[in-house]
């Protein structure tokens, strides 16, 4: 994900409190992007699901979430761990969590970032409708 001046980056220990902060930040940015209540709700669920999936993937010490609103009203998200994980298979696309994330967002993808850290990316659907 390319950094720009609107990007918000949040870092915290890989723990439920951090996931809650991620949810709150995602919700706030979605609200500012004019998303519907349903859209905000599903965006927050996707963030929750992605962060939890990474947390359970191999006990990372910390999680990093980068959220980038675009002028078109979409919001890109990338959540990754603070370092490579030995247990990360790089492909969790058969998991329930992945089904949830991919149904609630668009352009969902999973892999590793340039530093080899497990990463989940997606873009919020502005309307909150599936499509």
């Amino acid at each position: 994900m390319t950094l720009d001046s609107r990007e918000v980056v949040v870092t915290g220990p890989a723990a439920p409190d951090t996931v809650r902060v991620f949810r709150a930040v995602a919700g706030s940015l979605a609200m500012r992007a004019g998303a519907t209540v349903e859209g905000i709700d599903e965006f927050r669920i996707a963030v929750d699901e992605a962060a939890t999936l990474l947390t359970h993937a191999g006990n990372p010490a910390a999680l990093v979430m980068a959220v980038a609103p675009s002028p078109e009203g979409t919001i890109g998200v990338a959540i990754h761990t603070d370092g490579p994980l030995a247990g990360w298979p790089g492909d969790r696309e058969g998991s329930w969590s992945w089904r949830v994330i991919s149904h609630l967002t668009s352009q969902a993808g999973m892999g590793t970032d340039e530093d080899g850290c497990p990463e989940i990316r997606f873009v919020m659907r502005p309307s909150g409708t599936s499509g």
Partner: protein, 255 residues
């Protein structure tokens, strides 16, 4: 609520029992006599997210308080006094215990206002409203609306078996038959036991959202509950599944 209060005449024996207090036998007779009134009032609060058993317990406690506090010399029928006391107890219960985590009173009130505004806007707009629209309608700041929406997720979801009407029909019964495809979906059958063990309504909502690609609004219309209620059930059910953590076998049997 007062217009439909049950008519339970006290009768001369009731006054007599009060005069015999604190005799445990008299107290027992009073409880036994007015328990149907307490149960009736509890029933009136059903379908709001609390189990019938909990409501009956709260109403029974209200009845005991009413017996303790009633003064026959004031000339008010005990049934009237008990109704007010029991309803007060039930309302207090909803105010204090309907939330699964401690939510400040002001935020609870904001959440109620947001809930009302969302429902009204949903009906008038025919779609899920934005936070700005809700803030305008509810006369709250957008930040408060957002905070309230998050807080709403902490409200205890209705049990599937909670009656939603005075005729005792449960939410589960209102859902209609389960889509036959639900039973034959290999993907669905392959998921972990935590998903299969969910109550019928929660399972049905997950199926409609993640296998039938229906939106929350469409699900709400199909099941006959509000979009916010669907949202709450989805959030709470997904959180439950994340805690269970045994759902990594989604496509194990789909090949």
């Amino acid at each position: 609520m007062s217009s439909s209060q049950p008519r339970v005449p006290d009768g001369p024996e009731v006054l007599e029992w009060f005069r015999e207090l604190p005799d445990p036998a008299a107290r027992e007779r009073l409880v036994h006599r007015f328990l149907p009134l307490a149960e009736h009032l509890a029933w009136r609060f059903a379908g709001r997210g609390e189990s019938k058993e909990d409501l009956q317990q709260v109403a029974s406690l209200g009845l005991v308080h009413a017996i303790d506090r009633y003064d026959p010399d004031r000339g008010v029928q005990f049934a009237t006094f008990a109704t007010v006391t029991i309803v007060g107890e039930l309302k207090r219960h909803f105010r204090d215990r309907g939330w699964s985590v401690r939510v400040p009173r002001t935020l609870q009130e904001a959440a109620m206002a947001v809930n009302r505004a969302t429902t009204e806007l949903w009906q008038s707009l025919g779609r899920s409203p934005t936070v700005e629209e809700i803030a305008d309608r509810a006369q709250l700041s957008q930040e408060t609306v957002l905070e309230a929406l998050e807080a709403v997720q902490s409200y205890t979801a209705s049990s599937l078996e909670a009656p939603v009407g005075e005729d005792g029909v449960t939410a589960g019964e209102l859902m209609g038959d389960v889509d036959p495809q639900l039973e034959i979906s290999q993907e669905w059958l392959a998921v972990g036991p935590a998903l299969r063990d969910l109550p019928q309504r929660e399972r049905h909502i997950l199926y409609l959202r993640f296998f039938k690609d229906m939106t929350q609004t469409e699900i709400a219309q199909e099941i006959g509950i509000s979009q916010m209620h669907v949202s709450r059930l989805l959030t709470q059910t997904l959180a439950k599944l994340r805690e269970a953590g045994d759902l990594d076998v989604l496509d194990a049997g789909s090949g």
